[in-house]
């Protein structure tokens, strides 16, 4: 049995433990060791993610039984194309986050690197686990780390946003436990492949309970993925997070989207009998409403960071719209849009912080005032990022939205999808054009600027790295689309997943 599957979990966990161990060292040495360990871990994770994705790109679904306890009795880790590509995305993004953190953001609070590594541990675990209760545990790991990271840097605004974030997520965790308990009581298993096998066989009397448990799960994942009635926690939390944290958080809503997609296609997929497509009637209207709410929020924001956070809500809506179409083309469009939306959000957060630092007391407020230092280069980058985020040609956002619209044509609600996606794209463009012109064109004088400005070092490096990745998504679009098409077909064939997890062990009594 190859240990490749557990490596993306062990590397950040061991790095985090190692960093905690260095607490007895003197202050200066401790920081250097923490930085070195954290950077090495992220670099190694990128390597492991590449190995993982090449191992599954042929269509295999790898399964790893922890402690060699056979599934469904033990806990399994499972990697298919979807899981591996999300682990890869996280690794790529964390590289940008660490480049920014090393610019001094990590010294503004305690334990940044340990929490950062634990967050990566939780993210990778959530993507790779094949067990529902284990998914809960990894959600808790990544949330606990994110609570600490959100508060990193201190300040009353962060504490207030953190309090709301923590209380809401604690309620979400309680709902998750209730759903997991219901599933165990009804199906007698928490292994997701085994659940997918059994969910089609439940009697008519218990079908309602299984549906209730499934919809409770949807509620929990909707909270993580910022789906409409449960999205208001996101804008304040993301807008008040410190920069490297905001960059990493760009992938956090994708965990919710991943969990929805996994449960939708595996447990309530084509094998679920009468319960197949349980999420369908809910997902599409909620996703479209999320898109509208996000864009309206972006239009009414008075701060640039808040506007970007609302655009993240909007992109979560777009992503789930694609997943809600429940067709191979729709899933493929969504899977192409997912990395694009992650990079676009991270790029915009990076730009917002750089711009706010260069406007003196005005910060990121959307008001005309001082001329931005380094205006031409930041303005040009902002223009590119806005084109990327709004989904205009020629960048990757356009391909994502075009694929989504083409996939929607076959859907019964095509008119709604087209109307909402197109009009919100226009409004996103308006919102970004307005803030761009306010910040970069309507500035006079430079008196209020701070005397010594930090050079654009790590931020620019991270920006160029993420822009390069977004550009790669465009240039290598045919290759990426082959991959997402294959991923979508793999997701729509849950029997393959079930066989891969359960077959080697069926003879065990």
């Amino acid at each position: 049995m190859s240990h490749l599957l557990i490596t993306p979990l062990l590397v950040p966990l061991l790095a985090a433990i190692g960093i905690f161990w260095m607490r007895s060292q003197p202050q200066g040495a401790r920081r250097h060791i923490a930085r070195a360990l954290s950077t090495l871990s992220v670099l190694y994770l990128n390597l492991v993610a590449l190995l993982l994705i090449s191992a599954v790109s042929g269509g295999q679904t790898l399964s790893y039984a922890l402690g060699d306890w056979p599934a469904p009795f033990g806990i399994v880790l499972v990697a298919d194309r979807l899981s591996a590509s999300l682990v890869w995305l996280t690794a790529l993004l964390s590289l940008a986050a660490i480049a920014v953190a090393l610019r001094g953001y990590d010294a503004r609070g305690r334990h940044f690197h340990a929490l950062f590594q634990l967050q990566l541990f939780g993210l990778n675990g959530a993507f790779l686990t094949g067990d529902l209760f284990n998914l809960f545990v990894f959600f808790e790991v990544l949330l606990l780390a994110s609570y600490g990271l959100l508060l990193h840097g201190g300040g009353a605004a962060r504490t207030r946003a953190g309090l709301h974030f923590v209380v809401l997520n604690l309620l979400g965790s309680s709902l998750f436990l209730i759903a997991a308990g219901l599933f165990y009581g009804l199906l007698g298993t928490l292994n997701m492949a085994d659940m997918a096998r059994l969910v089609g066989t439940v009697g008519a009397a218990e079908r309602g309970w299984v549906a209730a448990a499934g919809l409770l799960l949807l509620t929990v994942f909707a909270l993580k993925g910022a789906l409409l009635p449960l999205h208001p926690w996101l804008p304040n939390a993301y807008a008040s997070a410190s920069l490297p944290v905001a960059v990493l958080f760009a992938v956090m809503t994708k965990v919710g989207a991943y969990a929805i997609l996994r449960v939708e296609t595996l447990i309530f997929g084509p094998l679920a009998g009468p319960l197949a497509g349980l999420y369908q009637p809910w997902l599409l209207p909620l996703a479209l409403l999320t898109l509208v709410a996000g864009i309206l929020g972006a239009l009414s924001s008075t701060r640039l960071a808040l506007q970007v956070a609302y655009l993240v809500v909007g992109s979560a809506g777009t992503l789930l719209t694609a997943f809600a179409l429940d067709s191979a083309t729709g899933l493929s469009a969504g899977l192409y849009y997912l990395p694009h939306a992650t990079f676009a959000a991270a790029i915009l957060f990076l730009l917002v912080e750089s711009v706010a630092l260069r406007r003196g007391a005005l910060g990121d407020r959307l008001a005309p005032g001082v001329r931005v230092a380094d205006g031409p280069i930041l303005g040009a980058l902002f223009f590119v990022a806005a084109v990327l985020m709004a989904g205009l040609p020629p960048l990757s956002g356009f391909i994502g939205k075009w694929l989504l619209l083409r996939a929607a044509l076959d859907h019964a609600q095509a008119a709604w999808v087209l109307a909402v996606v197109l009009s919100t794209s226009l409004l996103a463009m308006v919102a970004l054009a307005r803030s761009g012109s306010l910040v970069f064109y309507r500035g006079e004088g430079g008196d209020a600027l701070p005397k010594s400005l930090p050079a654009l070092g790590g931020e620019l490096l991270a920006l160029l790295w993420l822009l390069g990745l977004a550009l790669l998504l465009l240039v290598a679009a045919p290759a990426f689309l082959d991959f997402t098409d294959a991923t979508a077909l793999q997701l729509l064939d849950p029997q393959h997943y079930i066989d891969a997890v359960l077959t080697p062990h069926v003879e065990v009594p």
Binding site: F133, V137, A156, V166, V167, L170, L171, I178, Y184
Partner: protein, 109 residues
């Protein structure tokens, strides 16, 4: 017994939800604690309420209690404890920084 058990879980949850919706942080923390108690009891009952069974599989009899919900509850209790401690500290920090214990920006009446 099932009825009493279900009633207890329901009552705990109801009290927890009421307290969580309050405007000050302390009742909210208490409410979250009550909800997590209710959830732990609920999880525990999911293996079936079967008194007088062997705790684990034995060779003597075939009747045994399901050990898995106990393991799940143990995990949930540990996580719940840690989270209660964290949210208490966070509430105290917010109280110290803003000078009031309201959940929102403005002080509650």
């Amino acid at each position: 017994m099932e009825l009493l058990y279900a009633f207890s879980v329901g009552l705990l949850t109801a009290c927890g939800v009421y307290l969580t919706l309050r405007g000050r942080t302390f009742p909210v923390v208490l409410g979250l604690t009550l909800i997590s108690y209710a959830v732990n009891l609920f999880l525990f009952a999911m293996g079936g309420l079967l008194p007088g069974r062997a705790p684990i599989l034995s060779e003597v009899g075939t009747e045994y209690a399901d050990p898995l919900p106990q393991a799940l509850v143990l995990t949930a209790i540990v996580i719940g404890f840690a989270m209660t401690a964290f949210v208490t500290m966070l509430a105290l920090k917010a109280r110290a920084e803003d000078g009031h214990d309201g959940v929102d920006k403005e002080a509650p009446r």
